[in-house]
């Protein structure tokens, strides 16, 4: 078995030298990492935070503030938790692979050079 | 409201485990 990885999108990115310098990539993706389990409901509830997007149920779970000068980040989870973290440059960039099970194809859609990471214990929101 | 949006913190971080990948793993 074998499958080619479609790389035209990231190849164009790399050759254009349009690299990620912010928390979001030029393609609009972001990597969020938390040292812990992020618990989110599996089903929708009658609450403002629940809505849908393109036919898929979604929930608003937090608010993120990033200071690119100091590379610090604050993440508010729900109504009760506050996490302090940072914007970190990855030692090795990560390619984002999308596996399409119907067509049996693989595409490398983006490259992450940074992530926002929260390693500290959550604090209460005062 | 019977739901929770919450981070359950973990004291440490581990990433030492590595394994080879089978074709089935790749597509799982």
């Amino acid at each position: 078995p074998s499958v080619a990885i479609s790389t035209s999108q990231v190849r164009a990115l790399l050759l254009s030298e349009n690299r990620q310098t912010n928390v979001t990539t030029p393609m609009g993706n972001m990597m969020l990492e938390i040292q812990g389990d992020l618990e989110i409901p599996e089903t929708s509830h009658a609450d403002d935070r629940f809505s849908s997007h393109e036919g898929v149920d979604i929930v608003k779970f937090g608010l993120l503030h990033v200071n690119m000068e100091t590379k610090s980040a604050t993440l508010f989870i729900g109504k009760k938790q506050r996490l302090l973290g940072s914007v970190v440059k990855l030692d090795t960039p990560l390619g984002l692979l999308k596996f399409n099970h119907k067509s049996g194809t693989v595409e490398m859609q983006d490259i992450f050079s940074y992530k926002v990471i929260f390693k500290n214990r959550p604090l209460p929101i005062m | 409201k019977n739901f929770r949006i919450w981070v359950r913190y973990k004291e440490g971080f581990s990433d030492a485990v590595r394994k080879n990948v089978s074709w089935h793993d790749l597509w799982s």
Binding site: S2, F76 | S28
Partner: protein
Amino acid sequence: STNLYSRLSCDPSYKLVQLTPELLEALTSDEPQLQFKCFDEKRSDVVLCSARRTWLLRQKNHSNTVMLMREFLPEDEQTQEDSSLFGIPRPINDLLGYSRTTYEYETRATEGRINLDLVPIYNGEVNFPGESKLKGRTLKDVFDNSPSSETECKVRWYQLGGCVVNGCPCILSPDMLSNALHVTLMSALAESLDFDRLHPCETYEVVQKDVEKGRSPYVLEVVRTVLAKFGTPNDDETWKLNRRQVAQWYGVRALQKFASRHSVPLEEFLIKWKSTFPPFAGFDIDIKMLRGWFCEPTRGTVQYVSKDTLPVDVKDRFKMLFKLQSQWDLEAFAPFIEDLNTKGLKIDTFIMKYARKRRIGKKIVVCSR
């Protein structure tokens, strides 16, 4: 600030792979694309291949939550009260988490391997390939089905004695290869061809002069395989014969012929080895070339050790080797066990896990524990 949303059920079809400098180089090169390949679906390991290189894929699990998010426009825009902003600036954009991952793929450089399933052996048969299951398939098909880059496939193919006879990819049998090599050398010597610049077509022509009229098994492709297996390419489609490799081949065949059933005095073996070459061939020989193929059961004698008889289990292999020969020079011992050193340790570190090392004068010898 940014509003963060998440899908209630995340999309599991996204994965992350570490992009090492080699992979980034492969991504930006003009060569064909990267591929995931595997020997078979059930048991074997997936590799990542560029046109020239192969990497083993390794899954590195971790214990954190990693969420992949992208910018999006919520369908129902909600204004946020200041009290729910916790003192930070108002949100100006929105991100939607669409996938979570608990591992990354790492890549480790490895050797590509050729999938020889269904590739028949060619021993000079008249009606080759007959009803071979590989009939109708090309060499490109064999390479496509192999967990290896194309460049490595091409090199490895000839190292294995790979050939294409009557349109069918095949492996030349050891006898066929030996005979083809011998005939090629004899013919090239007779016509005073330059061993440093052998062209396949010219070499084939001189071989045809020397074989009996009628059907010769030494077709152009066979001659090409001989040159590619026993030579290194020059810039101009010619091959430079690797004399050491040729001498080694003759040496192993001589060990199989003269020193299989019982050991033979070294001096006698060297004479016999030399006699197997074409006359006036002028190949230098040295018993050290054959390390990994013989043992010295008693001082000054040699005996062939077939790789097929070596146990796969490391302890059993060490035991067998010390039974054949109680004490080995480190350099003579290493070729017999290096394939078992899968973790890539320094060879003497690996050997010391299962044997003892002693210094005798300037030499290091290995013996059982």
